[in-house]
């Protein structure tokens, strides 16, 4: 079974966005728990933050395949 070191590097690089997405949703959940009526407003902000943090992981996987 052969593989490339790129994928190991990508695995390491994915830690960052993983932690970031965890923090974003932790803040979202505690925000909704404190103030349930703010959910609809918080949801779009949380999804935006999630998308921005996820973009880093996506750039990583693109580079892992390209480089």
């Amino acid at each position: 079974m052969d593989g490339s070191l790129n994928m190991v590097g990508y695995g390491l690089a994915a830690i960052g966005p993983g932690v970031g997405i965890g923090l974003i949703f932790a803040a979202y959940i505690s925000g909704v728990a404190r103030q349930p009526e703010a959910q609809s407003r918080l949801q779009s902000i949380a999804i935006l933050g999630f998308a921005l943090a996820e973009a880093l992981a996506i750039i990583g996987i693109a580079l892992a395949f390209v480089l």
Binding site: M1, S40, R41, S44, A51, I59, F65
Partner: protein, 267 residues
């Protein structure tokens, strides 16, 4: 002949070749003007026809008290209109962009669900070019909306010159803002959809073929691991359904945000 050979995964002798991006290069069904017509191309057309037909059929016999089908269609439409378009673009001028956002959402979600649909099982947007075309269309629309509202110079100023910053910082910030708001946005928009579809589907293929290989070729101790891989394959398929919905939602949401940023008034 093993079942692995039947699903088109290369096996060389006894060794297992893990699936890679190469599995997504499908041969064309037939050629039109020297250009092969491949499975995702056909799927795009099917998805467009399907979305049109579903909504058309739902509103053909519309009644004041909606039937089941009409109720489902109205609920789906209302979700995108209210929770995406109205909440983000604002109640003043969101109606102009609702047709585009609703079409976009349902087109993407049908194409994504093709990835889990038995018999098709290929997400159209796991080919990067499809996602780039969609993001290119979105890029044209949000820039055109902004230019129509503010004029060309006014729009560039809105997107590139951050408010409340001392002019000293402009040489540093203006190129960065231009780069991030005008140039990189469509690329990340397309890559997010593409990479999620590719990676998710790759994971499903890996667990399915790897589990099958271990069940067929493995020794007695390896076979239970193959069974475990198949259980995970089922679990990951459900996770994929969630991701497919979420990516369609995120794509539409980001489109609405870009439009709302482009037509926003200066503070």
């Amino acid at each position: 002949m093993s079942v692995i050979g039947m699903v088109g995964i290369r096996t060389e002798g006894d060794s297992f070749t893990p699936p890679g991006p190469g599995n997504f290069d499908l041969p064309g069904f037939f050629e039109v003007a020297g250009q092969p017509v491949t499975k995702p191309m056909v799927q795009l057309v099917i998805a467009a026809v399907l979305v049109f037909w579903l909504f058309h059929a739902a509103i053909k016999r519309r009644e004041l008290v909606p039937g089941r089908f009409q109720f489902a269609a109205e609920g789906a439409y209302g979700m995108v209109r209210n929770s995406v378009a109205r909440d983000i673009i604002g109640s003043h001028d969101f109606m102009k962009y609702v047709p585009y956002l609703v079409t976009l959402f349902f087109f993407i979600i049908v194409n994504n669900f093709f990835g889990s649909f038995p018999g098709i099982q290929f997400p159209s947007f796991s080919r990067a070019s499809m996602a780039y075309a969609l993001a290119g269309l979105s890029w044209v629309i949000y820039n055109a909306a902004g230019i129509r509202r503010h004029g060309f110079a006014g729009y560039l100023k809105l997107q590139c010159v951050p408010a409340g910053v001392t002019p000293f910082m402009y040489p540093l910030l203006v190129p960065l803002e231009f780069f991030s708001n005008i140039l990189v946005r469509p690329v990340t928009l397309a890559l997010r959809l593409f990479a999620n579809m590719l990676a998710g589907h790759l994971l499903v293929i890996l667990f399915a073929t790897g589990g099958l290989y271990m069940l067929q070729e493995g020794s007695l101790l390896v076979k239970p691991v193959g069974l475990l891989a198949w259980l995970l394959f089922i679990a990951i398929s459900f996770l994929e359904l969630l991701v497919q919905f979420l990516q369609a939602y995120v794509f539409t949401l980001l489109n609405a945000m870009y439009i709302s940023g482009a037509i926003a008034d200066e503070h």
